[in-house]
Symmetry: C2
Subunit: 316 residues, 2 copies
């Protein structure tokens, strides 16, 4: 298949373009109209085969995931997603692979009203880079900085399940919750509810501890974590405590929102849970100082000797 | 070097952020303010080692080129560039390589007032994906469609020089004009002058014939090209006519603007040439029909048996 045919195929599956698309796929660039009075929010993330998804992942799931991880970044800012641009490097142009990949991407895009408006296809080792564009009301974006001592530390959904599923897959064991690994659900609606309420927010991609540390460094404060409160998927609940904590604290790839709220926000939390039918767990609090203190099941400090996933090197 | 340090290093070199940057590198997404009353223009292009640049290209030049090709896309729309997001996949994190790469990227970014506002770094085969964001006055963007029979076909600078330099490099010959290959000059100022005047525009990345064909297909018309008028770099001028035409018509990687103008635009062309100190060559005209007719040095039709560069497969 030729490159131009590939682009045409993508274009056909990507239509119809939605709100604000003045000019979509097919020209040298897309022309887009930001909703009046709002700021643009832009995130870009790359997925490489073997690093960001197992080699056996289906093209549908790869397509889904490359959009999901970027929508998760927009969600952590409290943004409304609008558009996506795709850069697809493939060793060869397999029509069926591309069709299934785009189906996966578009299945999630449609859920969130996102239009695929451009991109390019190149020959090379498989690498998928996606840029997601959205908008936010001026001043309402959430950031990593902003956490204040006394804040509640809250996380959505469960953590550790994706890392556990990956380890099961790599060990050749039966994988019980593969959807946590292949089809993370970006918390787009939650992010929009949180904007203007949460003092700080990030999505959990590197691992809970590593991402919490990003908040703490940017906010210049510390946190106490109650490990017993860490929300756990069904499969992970059957794992021994020590291993379970390791998956939950340093697993990564959860794409849940980790945020801090003023201590008087418990009523709002109850409302949001009901409104979104989503798990929201208070797992600790922000305190003065630096670093993270973890409290184990016995109420005693729990020593951690591992941390989040980093692409280059390991934590010291 | 760790990923977070790598990002910090990029962040340091990328500052200070320019106009409209509410939140730059360091959070999950960038927050940006589009100039009031303007539309967003977004382009994304990936460079893979060995495909889009020779393996021996310096990191400085790779950094320069990954921005240049994207600014060229914005230029072909008539947009003003503002911001860039970078996705950098590297097999390992070599501090010096990254530093030099970012220097190259920023050297061009500063020339055009572009701020690097986000991106990610991942481990994988070298692949560089960049998204360039700019703005245009509503309705003034240039497109591939819009060419009208009678229009002049015009190209900026020279064509074929980059492909000739690449072939010299690959044959082990002395390369006279390596800058045409390594440091293409995106025609940003020209694009902005053309907006509102040119009926159609594209940048020459796949090769003159292929990119002209994109205009003709989108505009549903044909073109006559006068091969004697094709602008030629100094080194390429010494090459035999047949080979020279091949480089000029199908070489690609020129990143010049190819556009069509109403026939009464010759005075404007003279003005623009003077204003920008740039070569602008009328190389043919738009006619009814389909396809491209090339006229050779003898005034007779010149048969072409090759066309532009496509990443997947070859032209039939």
């Amino acid at each position: 298949m030729k490159e131009f045919e590939l682009i045409r195929q993508i274009q056909q599956q990507a239509t119809p373009p939605g709100t604000g698309v003045i000019l979509g796929i097919g020209d040298d660039a897309a022309v887009l109209e930001i909703p009046a009075g709002r700021h643009l929010v832009a995130a870009t993330d790359t997925l490489n085969a073997g690093t960001h998804f197992p080699l056996e992942t289906t093209p549908f799931d790869i397509g889904y995931k490359c959009l999901a991880v970027n929508l998760s970044d927009l969600a952590s800012m409290g943004a409304v997603p609008h558009w996506a641009l795709l850069s697809l490097s493939l060793p060869d142009a397999d029509e069926q692979w591309v069709q299934s990949f785009i189906q996966g991407l578009m299945s999630l895009a449609k859920l969130h009203g996102v239009s695929l408006v451009g991109g390019d296809t190149t020959r090379g080792p498989m690498s998928i880079s996606l840029t997601a564009l959205g908008s936010v009301s001026p001043g309402l974006q959430m950031q990593r900085s902003g956490a204040i001592p006394g804040d509640l530390v809250v996380v959505s959904g469960t953590v550790g399940g994706a890392a556990y599923a990956l380890e099961q897959l790599q060990s050749g064991d039966e994988v019980q919750e593969q959807h946590l690994l292949d089809r993370p659900e970006p918390r787009v609606a939650l992010g929009q509810l949180l904007a203007g309420h949460a003092n700080a927010c990030i999505d959990v991609s590197d691992g809970l501890l590593a991402d919490l540390s990003h908040i703490l460094e940017a906010s210049v404060c510390a946190a106490k974590l109650d490990l017993e409160k860490l929300p756990c998927s069904d499969a992970l609940a059957k794992v021994g405590l020590e291993a379970r904590y390791r998956y939950q604290l340093s697993g990564g790839d959860d794409y849940e929102l980790l945020f801090t709220l003023p201590p008087n926000s418990l009523e709002k939390l109850v409302d949001w849970r009901r409104q979104l039918d989503i798990r929201l767990s208070v797992i600790g609090e922000i305190v003065d100082g630096s670093g993270v203190e973890c409290i184990g099941a016995n109420g005693q400090p729990y020593l951690i000797e591992y941390a989040g996933f980093e692409h280059f090197g390991v934590n010291g």
